[in-house]
């Protein structure tokens, strides 16, 4: 409910009480409990609905949000929303919902943008809830939506715009159709099946507490017993992109990579990357998997760079025969093919400058 409307309702209630004539039915237990003041309601009423109802006055952009995110969120959710340990992954995961290990992130799964604001405001940071200012929550919402390619970099999330943002996965939610999985007739009592075949044993897996075992399968999202076959990432042809637009896309990369000098930062320098064998930037400590990619002879060109940027771990994995490679780059990939093309155009232009 908007603040204005709330004030109106509260005033109406107070007015009704003062004149002593209730428009609605009388209470059965008059005198038990009291009317909360508008200030009391406001102090607790923090929820925001998909249509924007309840959104407080405020605003924020992704650039502002990135600054807050790095200080307040990255230690658990990772610098790129990839999630540290078992903390939730926030970014990426697009087109994984049918996979053996779906990644349900803000971008790939969440149906409503308002939920991002509502949840951060009430529950985050974990252990320091309700400490963020409304503008900070708007900014974080903008940052997470931008990093998930839902909004543009300069989109301002405000009390007026939050209800207008459409999330890509909204249409894929539907009402519970249960009951399901029911027999055609009455429950079978006799000769219901031909043979008994054991296809799994918990003792073999051995992850039960106090019985030992170091295997740590996911809760319902995969187990050590079933692994999907690695699916090689599709390598698409790369039409020419727009280097000017690519400069903006590179904002997602520049915290860790430089393009115009051979200086390694958190990530290796990209200067002269095209034509270089993978994992050969001098002075950078690469992961074992990236070294394996280099040993396999991968030389960076526009095509494989595009495939890598679209799905870093999956693409490198396909090179070395793993489902997902483990690299030092936490970034989850860039979703839009157009953005990848523009970024490649930008990299081609900038990394070759002397």
């Amino acid at each position: 409910m908007s603040v204005l409307l709330k004030g109106f309702v509260a005033a109406l209630v107070l007015g009704v009480v003062c004149t002593g004539s209730l428009s609605a039915a009388e209470r059965a237990f008059e005198g038990i409990g009291r009317t909360p003041t508008p200030e009391e309601i406001k102090s607790w009423d923090i929820d925001v609905r998909p249509d924007g109802q309840g959104a407080p006055v405020g605003h924020g952009t992704s650039a502002e949000g990135e600054r807050v995110y790095l200080v307040k969120c990255a230690s658990c959710h990772g610098e790129f929303g990839e999630g540290a340990g078992r903390y939730p992954v926030l970014i990426g995961g697009h087109e994984t919902l049918k996979d053996m290990r779906p990644e349900k992130t803000v971008g790939s799964y969440w149906p409503y943008a308002s939920t991002v604001f509502d949840y951060i405001k009430r529950a985050m940071p974990f252990g320091d809830a309700q400490s963020l200012k409304d503008d900070e929550v708007y900014a974080l919402t903008a940052y997470l939506l931008f990093m998930n390619d839902v909004i543009d970099e300069d989109f301002e999330v405000t009390q007026d715009t939050i209800g207008t943002i459409k999330m890509p996965n909204e249409a894929n939610f539907f009402m519970d159709p249960r009951p399901d999985a029911q027999p055609d007739g009455p429950a079978c009592m006799k000769d219901c099946k031909d043979e008994i075949k054991v296809v799994g044993r918990a003792r073999v897996l051995d992850v039960t507490p106090e019985t030992g075992g170091d295997d740590k399968p996911d809760m319902g999202e995969g187990s050590a017993q079933t692994q999907a076959q690695a699916k090689p990432a599709e390598v698409a042809a790369v039409p020419a992109g727009d280097p000017a637009a690519g400069r903006s896309v590179f904002n997602k990369c520049k915290a860790c990579h430089v393009v115009d000098s051979p200086k390694n930062r958190v990530g290796p320098s990209l200067h002269g990357v095209f034509g270089r064998t993978a994992a050969e930037m001098e002075g950078f400590k690469y992961s074992a998997d990236m070294k394996a990619v280099g040993a396999a002879g991968l030389v960076w060109d526009e095509e494989n760079m595009a495939a890598f940027i679209a799905d870093p771990k999956g693409y490198l994995g396909s090179v070395i025969g793993k489902k997902k490679a483990s690299t030092r780059m936490a970034f989850g990939g860039i979703r839009k093919a157009e953005d990848v093309r523009d970024l490649i155009a930008y990299l081609k232009q900038e990394t070759t400058k002397q």
Binding site: R49, R203, T226
Partner: protein
């Protein structure tokens, strides 16, 4: 006094998990028991003796102002699975179903699920606010609520993720872990309908948003039909005030619906015309289907049952007569029938239901007259509720839902009893 040695299961001689048992220094008797089936009690040449407790005085009436179970029962505790979650505050533990009889869960071993730890709330400072699309917003103190008419009802509370680790295959070897995200107590509180009538719900109102006072600020949308049907704002469980970890001083009771909706430390109810699409009903507690689409508002807990004796924690110790018993429940009403199969689901026999049968409450069943001949057994139970719903095999569930839905696994459980009497969690094709 004699040295007290804890047992972990109701069966006196064998205790799983085995490692813990070995650590307790009882390996000899355990192996003896499992190794020589039927030799549970050996005659003693010097008679049965006169133990200390038959000679000396016991504890005074002041020693335990709030009593606890015998030290010999100290293994009957909630346990957690450390690898499930990122932190211990946002996590879950499991009810030791293997050790329970009847249908009521003692308060101290009701499973816990928190999203930001168990908040310690001062009841004198706690309030319940009702506002939004109502004729008159109201603010109740705990004292206020205790002046209103009360109801007392028995209900199970099951986490939607109960069995969530078992979708792909048999994974955890113990009924505590495969089925322990459930408890069943008698709740006492005020009917939610009464509170909403006091506030006066506007005709266009269709939903409630309920919210907890912990630092997760847990919020869920409740449809108005359910709110006016059988929901309760409870302050007591099993005759005493709620336990801290169960939402003291106030929690919502949403009978038959998934546990996440039973908001603890309940502080606020907002009435509205649309659902809120909170994080816990979008990002979580929605069921991902094989086609990449997702079911939402999957509230009801489907009819389900499990055998709690025997089970991995309760192996068979002797051939001949043994107790087969378990629990059944349905979020849609009463349990009408429970069948037991001893051959992996080929043939079924109707079990005996014992004790009260109440809607949305645990129901206890037994299969009488069973004698174990020492051969391997694939034991299953299957519950049918008053709506005619039949608990499905996992193969049937997977046909519809695949393996990524996490929530609402109500499949039939198979226990494999080996020749030694040990029991393991297995999955049948």
């Amino acid at each position: 006094m004699t040295k007290k040695t804890s047992r972990t299961t109701p069966n006196n001689h064998v205790a799983l998990p085995r490692r813990q048992f070995l650590q307790a220094g009882l390996a000899g008797s355990a192996l003896a028991a499992t190794g020589s089936l039927g030799a549970a009690s050996v005659a003693r040449a010097d008679g049965l003796g006169i133990p200390d407790w038959s000679r000396q005085l016991g504890a005074t009436v002041d020693d335990a102002p709030y009593g606890k179970p015998s030290d010999f029962e100290s293994g009957v505790i909630r346990r957690s699975v450390e690898w499930l979650t990122a932190t211990r505050e946002s996590s879950i533990n499991f009810t030791p179903l293997y050790a329970l009889e009847g249908i009521i869960t003692p308060n101290g071993i009701c499973f816990e699920r928190h999203h930001a730890g168990a908040a310690e709330v001062d009841p004198e400072q706690h309030h319940l606010m009702i506002h939004g699309m109502v004729d008159r917003p109201l603010l109740f103190s705990m004292e206020d609520l205790l002046r209103l008419p009360r109801v007392s009802k028995f209900y199970f509370l099951e986490c939607a993720a109960n069995g969530g680790m078992e979708w792909r295959n048999a994974q955890l070897n113990g009924v505590q872990f495969t089925h322990g995200m459930i408890h069943c107590v008698q709740y006492t509180g005020v009917s939610l309908k009464l509170l909403l009538e006091e506030a006066g719900v506007k005709p266009k109102a269709k939903w409630l948003m309920v919210e907890g006072g912990d630092s997760a600020g847990m919020n869920r949308s409740i449809p108005m039909d359910k709110a006016l049907d059988d929901c309760m704002v409870a302050f007591a469980m099993n005759g005493e005030r709620l336990r801290v970890e169960q939402g003291y001083p106030l929690r919502l009771v949403v009978p038959g619906f998934e546990g996440n909706m039973w908001v603890k430390w309940l502080r606020r109810i907002e009435v509205g015309d649309e659902s809120w699409q909170a994080r816990e009903e979008t990002s979580k507690y929605t069921d991902l289907m094989p086609d990449g689409r997702a079911r939402r508002f999957t509230w009801e807990m489907d009819c389900k049952s499990v055998i709690t004796s025997p089970c991995p924690e309760n192996p068979l110790l002797a051939k001949g007569p043994n107790v087969i018993s378990g629990i059944a429940w349905s979020g849609r009403g009463t349990v009408k029938r429970v069948d037991v199969s001893l051959d992996g689901g080929k043939n079924w026999t109707e079990a005996r239901i014992e004790g009260p049968v109440m809607p949305k409450c645990l129901t206890r069943f037994y299969l009488d007259g069973w004698e174990w001949n020492g051969d391997p057994v694939y034991m299953q139970s299957r519950a049918i509720d008053e709506t005619g719903y039949v608990q499905p095999q996992m193969t049937e569930l997977q046909k519809v839902r695949g393996v990524n839905s996490i929530y609402h696994n109500n499949a039939i459980q198979t226990w494999h009893i080996t020749k030694t009497g040990e029991v393991e969690n297995v999955r049948l094709a």
